[in-house]
Symmetry: C2
Subunit: 233 residues, 2 copies
């Protein structure tokens, strides 16, 4: 058994299937041989956070609910927070302002991981939900790291969002997987040298081997980073 | 969207992979088309609960830690508690004494499910961890329901526990699956007409179609029951 690791609080439920996927990726990243090699995780799987994409269109803000969840996780004993939903990172400041414990920022960590995975690339394709794009979450992080960020056309983005909602409905089949792969391939055709899976529903329908270029999955990046930080001295 | 369902608190981490499996089974049982069709779950995945099997041999009791987890989940907003670990139900009284909210008892629910699945059966084979057997958790529940409970011989139980710890280590492969199936088949050879998967690691290595008799999985029973009770008026 390693030294006691920090307890990780997870702001989840956005959506629940993606949170379940993140949980599994944390377990895998823990490289555990016994139960107590794993991390203590407190997961608030809350599917009632106001819709991030609707909020980007003027709907109710998820900020207050996310801040309350963060405070609840801190009160329950969390020493580190993570949120497996990219779009919700538009309200990261509300979370950070609500607690004293560190918040591991999925998008900043993913930009770092892009550099490690594809040091030579200049143009990176970003698949992300409307709220993430409207708030330029990945564009800002990638441009700060020296990349050009490519995103889907308006029509293709509409098709991508339709796929995401079908994933949330549990309707992942071969046809849906092909459509998701096609979204990534359009960005590659436009010159992207790597693809960021910047929405936590994407890995439920697209795997790294499915496309010819590197696929950097934000869910996996966050899971691996959480394990490292929870165990850090 | 249905009427707001109750928030479910999960005493988890015993082990973490089994808790992840339970989470997935709750998602599947929720039959959701959108994120907010799902339940709010607060999962305390705590792999540092004192070992249940060691406790049955005189080691430290998990009772106080389980009681503290239950109180923490109630304070975080849980309105219903569930614990996807059969052996830990030997300390169910400590949990119930610690909180005001209902605790859904996995073993009692599984005994009810056995009746629904195999109304004609008389003899039911039980695969369960040492701590569950030493405390006669399933024997008591099944005998109260009119069944005879069959368990493994001492030597076979030792082999079964070895399989369970290999599942916890993430070592599920075809050979391990065959060994797990063989444990179930020994109980069938002794006259069992159905098998209870009375340890939450079992479904990670044995599926209902793997044996010729009905397999009643306590994890699935608890997941389905939690969804029903969370949504009940």
């Amino acid at each position: 058994m390693r030294r006691p690791a920090r307890t990780v609080g997870v702001l989840g439920g956005m959506g629940p299937i993606a949170t379940h996927d993140f949980f599994g990726k944390v377990l895998a990243a823990s490289d555990a041989r016994t139960d107590d090699d794993h991390l203590r995780l407190i997961i608030d799987n809350n599917p009632f956070v106001p819709d991030r994409n609707a909020a980007a269109d003027g709907g109710p803000s998820p900020g207050p609910v996310l801040a309350a969840m963060a405070r609840g996780l801190e009160a329950a004993g969390a020493e580190l927070l993570a949120m497996p939903c990219n779009a919700a990172h538009a309200w990261a400041d509300d979370i950070r302002a609500a607690v004293r414990i560190p918040f591991v920022h999925m998008i900043e960590e993913t930009a770092v991981a892009v550099r490690a995975a594809t040091p030579q690339a200049r143009r990176v394709g970003v698949l992300a939900a409307d709220a993430a794009l409207k708030n330029r979450l990945y564009e800002t992080a990638l441009e700060a790291a020296g990349y050009e960020a490519l995103t889907l056309s308006v029509a293709d983005q509409r098709a991508f969002m339709d796929i995401i909602y079908r994933v949330k409905a549990g309707n992942v089949d071969a046809a849906l997987r092909a459509e998701m792969r096609s979204c990534a391939e359009r960005l590659l055709a436009e010159g992207a040298e790597a693809i960021v899976a910047g929405c936590t529903e994407i890995p439920l329908a697209l795997a790294p081997g499915d496309i010819t270029a590197p696929l950097i999955e934000s869910t996996t990046v966050l899971a691996q980073r959480v394990v490292v930080l929870a165990r850090a001295d």
